[in-house]
């Protein structure tokens, strides 16, 4: 009977664990070699306040795009409004479709180039386990007619209007949800045909017979989109190759728009001496939007102009104070700042004064800290007494009254397979270094960095690493999360202290804050491939 309860509650819990309540934030820059300021990450207070469901959203961003219609890059400053009708999709749906509309208008009229674009995508998605495929199309599946795509570009040399019948754009994304990070990649292909009405001063927009009017501009784009979303950072970068045919002249260039947001901590000390806390941490949410371009082929008359350039949107960083838990007893300790930060971010809970850095960190504490750090969605708390009594008991020693209970269950549901044996979880046993590393790598979802299986790692005590942990240990080494000691050892079977555990949790958060963002921004935008 107990097994039946367990099975039922597990089944219930699993459908809730990855409800895809908040759709991934892809496409915030559009797909047209433009860059926007992007959405900020919700601050800590905001996250607590927000209820996560799919919703119809409307976002408004400052948007800059490089327009190439005349053969030379011109920066256009505009405003982009993204309307998403995702609210009609149920959170637990495994397939469905919804619409997303982009509206781009000029920010001000005093520009060389004025662009107006309205385009509605139909997004069809389907989910298989942790992966979701999203197809963005503009043409109706049955009639093959474009739903809505209007584009007009006004330049000094004429007005270009999109020919809807001959244009098409298709983008397809694949998302993979790991416990701590959502990774996605997309591919984009676009073929747009513009017809030009030459502005010959007569205002009639027609070919005046001089051979200077009319004509077509064909723009073809192909590109890759890479992005990720996590609790501490998000980034999206495109690499788009475009060919523009301006009726006799051709231009070929590559643009790399990049959008990132991350949260970092900064400690501010209080000036007055009589104050109840010496100082506290602030969380700064910083956006960065930029686009770099390289021109490969262009009309010869522009040959003396720079071949590359970049544009950026100035952004304003918001910040929020974090609480100041009393970690005065750790003043001067090796891991003081790690522990203070984790308490300030509320990754560590409980009374800070009881935190003894020299003690071994237990498995329950480490899993709870990791789950809080990665903001892994927790199972809903039981609503009534009856539900409380039948809450899932996966491990006999992890009872619902333990504060670590929901986190351990969340990890178990996420497939992190953390039991030492299928019986007990050993919630109060110390955690070993290799177990800690395995959890860290699996929360990031980066086990695939190492070959499968991994027969040997570069550490001198490779033989002491358990078979099931070797792959994650090698992956952690390759990512730069860990490093051997002076003798090349990693000491996989040693129990780690609270201080070491804090250092590992903070290392993972730092990796998400900085290195993961760098890998998705600078490492793509700074390299022409």
């Amino acid at each position: 009977m107990k097994k039946l309860y367990i099975a039922l509650t597990l089944a219930f819990a699993i459908t809730l664990i990855f409800p895809f309540t908040v759709l991934a934030r892809m496409g915030d820059m559009g797909f047209w070699s433009g860059v926007s300021e992007g959405r900020p990450l919700p601050g800590t207070t905001q996250q607590i306040l927000a209820s996560e469901t799919n919703a119809n959203t409307t976002d408004r961003f400052v948007y800059h795009e490089i327009i190439w219609i005349d053969g030379e890059p011109v920066e256009f400053e505009g405003v982009m409004v993204i309307e998403s009708r995702a609210g009609r999709v149920r959170p637990d749906a495994v397939s469905g479709s919804y619409e997303v509309t982009y509206r781009i208008t000029p920010a001000h009229e005093d520009q060389d180039v004025l662009l107006t674009r309205t385009i509605t995508f139909v997004v069809n998605f389907r989910r298989e386990g942790n992966q979701t495929v999203r197809d963005w199309t503009v043409r109706d599946a049955r009639s093959n007619r474009v739903q809505r795509w209007e584009e007009t570009i006004v330049t000094p040399t004429g007005t270009y209007t999109l020919d809807r019948r001959r244009s098409n754009i298709n983008i397809s994304f694949l998302e993979d949800q790991t416990p701590g990070v959502l990774y996605y990649k997309g591919n984009l292909s676009m073929h747009a045909v513009f017809t030009r009405a030459y502005d010959n001063g007569n205002g009639n927009g027609n070919d005046n017979g001089n051979g200077n009017g009319g004509g077509e501009v064909i723009i073809r784009s192909t590109g890759s989109i890479y992005g990720f979303t996590s609790a501490w950072s998000a980034a999206e970068t495109h690499r788009i190759d475009t060919w523009v045919d301006i009726g006799g002249e051709q231009v070929h260039f590559q643009t790399r728009p990049s959008l990132s947001v991350n949260k970092t901590l900064m400690f501010t000390e209080n000036e007055p001496q009589p104050v109840s806390f010496r100082g506290n941490y602030m969380e700064i949410v910083a956006n960065q939007s930029s686009l770099s371009y390289d021109i490969f082929i262009r009309p010869i008359r522009f040959n003396d102009n720079p071949r590359s350039g970049s544009i950026t949107i100035p952004t304003f960083n918001t910040f929020e104070q974090l609480i100041a838990p009393d970690t005065s007893h750790l003043r001067g300790h090796f891991a003081e700042s790690d522990i203070a930060q984790l308490f300030a971010m509320e990754v560590f809970t409980g009374v800070p004064a009881r935190f003894r850095p020299d003690q071994a960190m237990t498995r329950g504490q480490y899993v709870m800290a990791m789950a809080r750090a990665a903001k892994v969605p927790l199972p809903d708390p039981p609503r009534n007494a009856r539900a409380r009594n039948t809450t899932s008991i996966v491990f006999p020693d992890v009872t619902p009254d333990r504060v670590e209970h929901p986190y351990i269950i969340a990890f178990f549901n996420a497939g992190l397979a953390i039991g030492r044996d299928r019986g007990n979880f050993f919630i109060d046993a110390p955690i070993t270094m290799e177990e800690a590393i395995v959890i860290m790598v699996r929360v990031l979802g980066l086990t695939n960095i190492a070959p499968n299986p991994t027969p040997v790692t570069p550490f001198t005590d490779n033989d002491r690493i358990s078979d099931w942990a070797r792959r994650e240990v090698y992956a952690a080494y390759r990512l730069g999360l860990i490093a051997p000691d002076d003798e090349g050892r990693i000491n996989p079977l040693t129990n780690i202290s609270n201080a070491t555990g804090a250092a590992l949790v903070n290392r993972m958060i730092d990796y998400m804050r900085h290195e993961l963002v760098t890998a998705y921004t600078d490492h793509i935008t700074n390299y022409i491939h």
Binding site: Q254, R256, S258, M266, M282, I284, A286, Q288, S289, S290, L291, S292, D294, F296, I300, R301, N303, D304, N305, S308, S310, I311, T312, F316, N317, F319, I449, P451, P453, P455, V456, T457, P458, F459, T460, D461, N462, D463, R478, G480, G488, H514, T518, D522, H523, T525, N526, Y527, I528, H529
Partner: protein, 996 residues
């Protein structure tokens, strides 16, 4: 009641007496067919079997007697006899009985009987002798030397009835004496079977070995070694008597030694099936029950039980019931009751007559067992299968004959060809006894054996490859480099369009994955397939590369023959040395390039393969390098003081800010915001590394200067290195480094003494931020000192040189449209002078050749430079900028022979799109004597208008006036100068050279 009982009894007796012959059962499915195809021996029971069975049912030997089996066996073989269905197992063996035993076990029963007749004839009158039943045995034994003369005479002494003499015939035989007789007997029938000359060792194990008579010691030793006589309780008890049961046991122990002399063969097997049959001869019929035995060698023996069923010719068949003594579970019975299918039996076969003399049932019922393992090898010649378990131990089993032929092996009722057996598959064997009865696969059969691992070392010259297998063990396999087939998924082959079919059918189509074995390198993941005939040789190999990507900045390059040794510094500060081969792929600016294009200070993406030779020893090699696009290049160097920070917006405020331009520090700004959003900004105070917090606290608004290197990132210029200094800035004019120590000290021509640098010095080499130890002699640099002779900024650039720019003017004689044109004569510009040559010259045109007209319009010479129609340019004169024989620019401009020069202090663009530069220290050239004259004493400024058809030469490259900046010292060639050269005059510059 009695009647019914007796009736019932009678019925039972009838039914038991008349066997029912309709049996057809088997536990071994193929036993019947195997008998038909691969028969063993056709054996029969003995005709006196039933009698024997009856007689051997000794009343005083219950089935539970410890020697019951031995006694029955000995009796079945005719070695012992009972007396009226009693055996007297506990009775002591007398000497004569012992001798009789020995003679019988020697198979000389008949000889003894013959001897008895002879003796009786000879000594017909000697009383007592004739009556001795054993006289024949004793006499024969003496004749052949088994017993000694003493023993002989003692035994036949007519003291019949007296048992005092231990050698009397009826006296109990001592164990040691029996040992000698048995040994002698065995020795004569089976010479060499006993080691009669063995050294005394085994005997010493007996506690009472000292008591053994020395004459018998050798025999006891031999028998003890052969396990024929073991003693009891650790003692041999040499003078104890032997019971008849013990004698039977001795015979049992010696059976291996006995049987050859008795023409007996001992076999074991399992009763596979029983089938009844009928033999019909005219007038008579014989019921036969066939017992099919799967013997240990896998062959099938058949033991036949015969039961004549009557008929008038029964006697003619001359047969009776043929049965065998069967000892089963303490019961002595015959074949019908003694054997059931599945029994494991031991049977003694007479090789002479093909009769089975005795059967012992070792274990009853189905002795079926299962064993699992990996199929290792199969030998169909001897019918043996070898199994390998998880510990790599090999076990061999005999297979039932029907499971295999020369060509096939039967697994799961399917025939598998012997030369293509799925070796390595997991199989389950069903054993009956110890013979394999059936083979079945566990899971799916493995068709090919593959091994997976990561390459440690590949040596095509010697033909071996070493890998770490999946368990981390090293394995070395050999191959023939010219015949091994290798397919490798290179990291640049995204799609495998052909797939595995190209491996299944070689020579199918071009497969980009087919490579030579040399392409397999340490660190690759490989799958190996072995030659089925020779499992040590690799015939097929599939590999995939396993690379990691790292981002690093080049700190040093040392170029040697065919390799470059490169020191790189990763983003986290760690450094590593790499040997980069010259032929690896290098990409620079989106184009393929070579290692020669790598420069110190370049950031690049490295594709590295990591080969772990052993834990702790890793060899990394670089496979590809992609150089960064310049986002890390230092675009600006700023000097000022720290005003403050805007930490939330990641901005630093610099007051009294100036940037380093061609003419020194300029572009003064009261407060300049600088982004400090980059991840790895380094802060220095003089030569010491500090943190931003330190700077904010102690160095704000300090008097000294702060120098900031800004990089050119897509997010806008942001700080990369910030150095605070305490002294005053002193900018030196650009100069050449004369000598440098390599540790950061150098000297320049214009200043005596050495200039030192430290970790905080901003060193920019061709735009890249480099470590301060890389300043080399003959570098051309702008140095800014701060505090004595310490350099705060060293900006290394190419020495301004326009001597490589080739400019000429010529009159076009002919045009080959799109390809070339010829000038009939030209004037070449050297310095400020035009040198006329009447020589014809041809210049080629390509897609990069610009044709610039007087109105500034630019078109492609490929299309617009024509020798016909209105646009014909024949006979026109153009200024030609050329490289070698290729024209890069063809410009329509007036002949510029006058020159002015000066330094730009303002530059802008006018309404027509021309660049307008205001220069100071303006001088004009006197063409006659080549001297320069300042245009004014007071205010030597003038204006130069640079239309778009001007060629501007800088650092041996030519472009339009877009790149001119304040601070450039230019030399301008123009066609006419105003009559009076004075302040504020304006000239059109048609050729501009940037000299500094």
């Amino acid at each position: 009641m009695k009647k019914i009982l007796s009736l019932a009894l009678a019925v039972i007796i009838i039914f038991t007496a008349i066997p029912v012959f309709a049996l057809n059962t088997a536990v071994d499915e193929r036993i019947f067919t195997d008998w038909a195809s691969m028969p063993g021996d056709n054996l029969s029971g003995m005709l006196d079997g039933p009698t024997l069975i009856n007689n051997l049912n000794f009343t005083d030997v219950p089935g539970s007697h410890w020697a019951a089996e031995a006694i029955v066996r000995a009796g079945a073989l005719g070695l012992v006899r009972g007396d009226n269905r009693t055996y007297s197992p506990g009775a002591s063996l007398s000497n004569q009985e012992a001798v009789a035993f020995v003679i019988r076990l020697m198979g000389m029963e008949n000889a003894a009987l013959t001897e008895a007749i002879n003796i009786r004839d000879q000594f017909f009158d000697v009383e007592g002798v004739i009556d001795m039943w054993s006289i024949g045995y004793i006499s024969h034994a003496f004749n052949i030397g088994v017993i000694t003369e003493d023993e002989y005479f003692s035994m036949i002494s007519p003291m019949v009835g007296t048992v005092q003499d231990p050698l009397a015939a009826r006296a109990p035989a001592t164990r040691e004496r029996v040992a000698r007789w048995v040994a002698e007997g065995l020795n004569r029938t089976n010479p060499g079977a006993l080691l009669m000359d063995a050294s005394i060792q085994r005997v010493l194990a007996f506690g009472d070995w000292n008591d053994i008579n020395i004459e018998y010691l050798q025999s006891v030793e031999a028998l003890a070694r052969a396990n024929v006589m073991q003693g009891s309780g650790g003692n041999f008890n040499p003078r104890a008597s032997l019971t008849r049961a013990e004698m039977a046991q001795i015979l049992r122990n010696a059976d291996e030694l006995l049987y050859p002399s008795l023409n007996l063969e001992r076999r074991t097997g399992t009763v596979g099936g029983i089938r009844d049959d009928q033999l019909i001869v005219t007038g008579a019929s014989l019921a036969v029950r066939n017992f099919y035995i799967r013997n240990f060698a896998g062959l099938v023996d058949r033991i036949q039980y015969q039961f004549p069923q009557g008929g008038p010719m029964t006697d003619l068949l001359g047969t009776g019931i043929a049965d065998v003594v069967v000892f089963r579970n303490g019961q002595i019975t015959g074949l019908l009751d003694g054997l059931t299918p599945g029994d494991e039996i031991e049977y003694l076969v007479s090789t002479a007559t093909g009769e089975v003399l005795y059967i012992q049932v070792i274990s009853e019922g189905l002795q079926e067992s299962f064993v699992e393992g990996r199929l290792y090898a199969v030998d169909t010649d001897i019918g043996m299968l070898t199994l390998q378990d998880d510990n790599r131990t090999l076990t061999r089993f005999f297979m039932a004959g029907g499971l295999y032929t020369d060509e096939f092996l039967l697994i799961d009722q399917a025939r598998n060809p012997v030369e293509a057996l799925p070796l390595g598959s997991n199989v389950r064997l069903r054993l009956l006894g110890n013979t394999i009865d059936a083979i079945s696969f566990i899971g799916a059969p493995i068709v090919v054996t593959e091994m997976r691992g990561i390459v440690i070392d590949n040596n095509p010259d010697f033909g071996y490859i070493t890998i770490f297998d999946n368990n981390g063990n090293m394995f070395t396999g050999s191959y023939f480099a010219d015949s091994i087939r290798v397919s490798r998924q290179s990291h640049w082959d995204m799609n495998d369009d052909i797939g595995y079919i190209a491996q299944v059918f070689p020579n199918f189509r071009f497969d980009p994955r087919s490579v030579a074995i040399d392409d397999v390198r340490p660190g690759d993941i490989v799958f190996l397939r072995f030659d089925p005939d020779d499992p040590e040789i690799i015939v097929n190999l599939s590999a995939a590369s396993d690379y990691i990507v790292r981002y690093a900045q080049i700190q040093q390059i040392t170029r040697e023959d065919r390799i470059s040794r490169v020191l790189v510094r990763y983003e986290n500060g760690q450094t590593a040395w790499f040997d980069v081969a010259d032929n690896i792929f290098v990409s620079n600016g989106g184009r393929p390039s070579t290692t020669a294009s790598l420069m110190v200070g370049d950031w690049a993406q490295f594709l590295i393969s990591q080969a772990i030779l052993e834990p702790g020893h890793v060899v990394e090699s670089v496979r590809e390098i992609v150089v960064e696009d310049g986002s890390s290049h230092i675009s600006t160097i700023v000097r000022g003081q720290l005003a403050g920070l805007e930490p939330m917006q990641r901005q630093m405020m610099v007051q009294n800010a100036q940037t380093l331009e061609g003419n020194g520090w300029s572009n003064f700004q009261n407060i300049m915001p600088i982004s400090i959003a980059a991840n790895d900004i380094e802060y220095f105070h003089n030569g010491n590394r500090i943190s931003l917090d330190y700077a904010q606290r102690f160095l704000r608004r300090a008097d000294g200067d702060v120098y900031i290197a800004l990089e050119n990132s897509p997010q806008g210029a942001r700080a990369r290195q910030v150095t605070f200094r305490d002294g005053r800035d002193e900018l030196l004019p650009s100069d050449t480094i004369m000598h440098s120590t390599g540790t950061g000290s150098f000297s320049i021509l214009s200043m005596p003494g050495d200039i030192t640098t430290d970790a905080g010095t901003i060193v920019r080499r061709h735009g890249r931020l480099v470590p301060h130890g890389t300043i080399l002699p003959s570098d051309y640099a702008v140095v800014s000192l701060n505090g004595g002779s310490r350099a705060a900024v060293v900006d290394i650039m190419s020495a301004p040189d326009v001597s490589g720019v080739n400019i000429a003017r010529g009159r076009v004689q002919s045009v080959d449209e799109g390809r070339s044109f010829t000038v009939q004569s030209m004037s070449i510009l050297t310095g400020n002078n035009w040198t006329f040559t009447p020589v014809q010259r041809e210049f080629t045109i390509d897609h990069n050749t610009m044709f610039i007209r007087a109105d500034g319009s630019i078109s492609m010479a490929l299309q617009a430079f024509m020798g016909f129609t209105d646009a014909s340019i024949l006979d026109d004169v153009f200024t030609i900028v050329y490289e070698g024989s290729r024209a890069t620019r063809i410009i329509e401009a007036p002949f510029a022979r006058q020159a002015v020069r000066g330094t730009i202090f303002t530059i802008g663009t006018n309404d027509e799109g021309d660049r307008v530069a205001h220069i100071r220290n303006a001088e004009h050239l006197n063409p006659q004597n080549g001297t320069w004259h300042s245009i004014s004493i007071r205010d030597a400024t003038m204006t130069v208008t640079i239309p778009t058809n001007t060629a501007v030469a800088r650092n041996n490259a030519v472009d339009t006036g877009q790149q001119l900046v304040v601070g450039d010292s230019i030399r301008v060639l123009t066609n006419t100068l105003p009559a009076t050269m004075q302040t504020g005059v304006n000239v059109n510059g048609y050729l501009v050279f940037v000299d500094r």
